[in-house]
Symmetry: C2
Subunit: 229 residues, 2 copies
């Protein structure tokens, strides 16, 4: 009774209705912001904040700060597995679902996100870079490989100018609509800027949408599909 592996502490974390609702909402695998989770749990943002702090303290969550937002997702698959098991025990099902993302199709496709490219096009770019070994995840950080540097240089970007800045070159950014990663940082901003310069796309002045021209989208896709060798 004195020591123990403290299964009680973890279970108690999950045992609060508000926190349980948050965790079940995160079972989709998507990341949600604090306010979204607050709504999901049916509590105010203050209480949600304390709850999320506790869940994070119990290593049940993974937290990523994103500007003035904070994105939460389940820490590991193990957490999801335990939640799944608990759902099984609580035989009576009846899931909650959570509304997500922008309803505007053009925003989903491509938009600016703090001056870099987000939406489906942003994700495609990130996936391509990652899959071709241009970007590697090192712990929490994102590093541009020499192959990657070569590619962006060939794309017309002056890396030296970027690395001279104080702000980080590469940052992983969580996509709003799809909730997957895309490229942020000064490089992300430079890439979007270059795309605009090339005339492949231009920003919609009334919204965050980024409108690709037909020719621009084709050229963009061609760049992403280029084999490394």
């Amino acid at each position: 009774m004195k020591e123990g592996p403290d299964i009680a502490r973890v279970a108690a974390l999950i045992g609060d209705p508000a926190r349980a609702n948050m965790l079940t909402a995160l079972m989709t695998g998507k990341a949600l912001t604090a306010t979204e989770l607050a709504a999901e749990a049916g509590v105010t943002s203050q209480t949600a904040s304390t709850h999320l702090a506790k869940l994070d303290g119990g290593n049940l969550l993974r937290v990523r700060k994103q500007g003035r937002h904070k994105y939460f997702s389940l820490a590991t698959d193990d957490v999801a597995a335990v939640l799944e098991g608990l759902m099984g025990l609580a035989a009576k099902s009846g899931h909650l679902r959570t509304r997500t993302g922008p309803r505007d199709a053009s925003l989903r496709k491509a938009r600016v996100c703090y001056n870099h490219l987000a939406g489906d096009m942003g994700i495609r770019m990130f996936d391509s870079f990652h899959g071709r070994g241009f970007l590697v995840l090192e712990g929490e950080a994102l590093r541009l490989t020499s192959e990657g540097a070569e590619f962006v240089a060939g794309f017309g970007i002056d890396l030296d100018k970027l690395t001279a800045q104080k702000s980080p070159l590469c940052k992983e950014c969580l996509d709003w609509s799809a909730r997957r990663s895309h490229l942020a940082g000064s490089l992300g901003r430079a890439l979007l800027s270059r795309i605009e310069t090339l005339g492949w796309a231009k920003r919609d002045p009334d919204s965050r949408a980024v409108i690709f021209t037909q020719r621009g989208e084709a050229a963009f896709a061609r760049q992403l599909a280029v084999a490394t060798v």
Copy 2:
């Protein structure tokens, strides 16, 4: 926030330190009495009683009444699996172990339990009967099959006399030392009585021990090993 599969309720059940200690103590697979679990949790018997009622109400436990005792075990393997998962999440291990059973070897081997045979010999008998299809579990009840009836009749037991009684013929009884099932009920009592009549064993007048003679143990083992066909 209104409905939900109520993962919170189950988690909250496990989330109380006292209850968590009880559940971890039951992770061995053995059944424990209410007082043992109270000691394990470090609470009084009253509080333990309420805790156990709640755990039972949440379908986390299986309960078997045994005279003035109440034996608790985990309801299903699923429960154990979830607990295992929670332990994994609560990384820091350090298990509790619980003292068990009689220290006297002869008592472990064979003893009377409310006038029927318990201990290793009792378990061997139950396992043999069960494995040969003499006894079948039907829900919570235990039924003697026609093959079983034939066998015990051949062993010299008057079944008609037993079935005429009001008390149940077959009952599953949880073994004190090994915490596994053996045969109780009027049949269990009749079997022990018959064993004594045959001179295979006699009771120790100073304890609960049942002392088998060498010849008796051999004959007993032979009976249990007999193939049905």
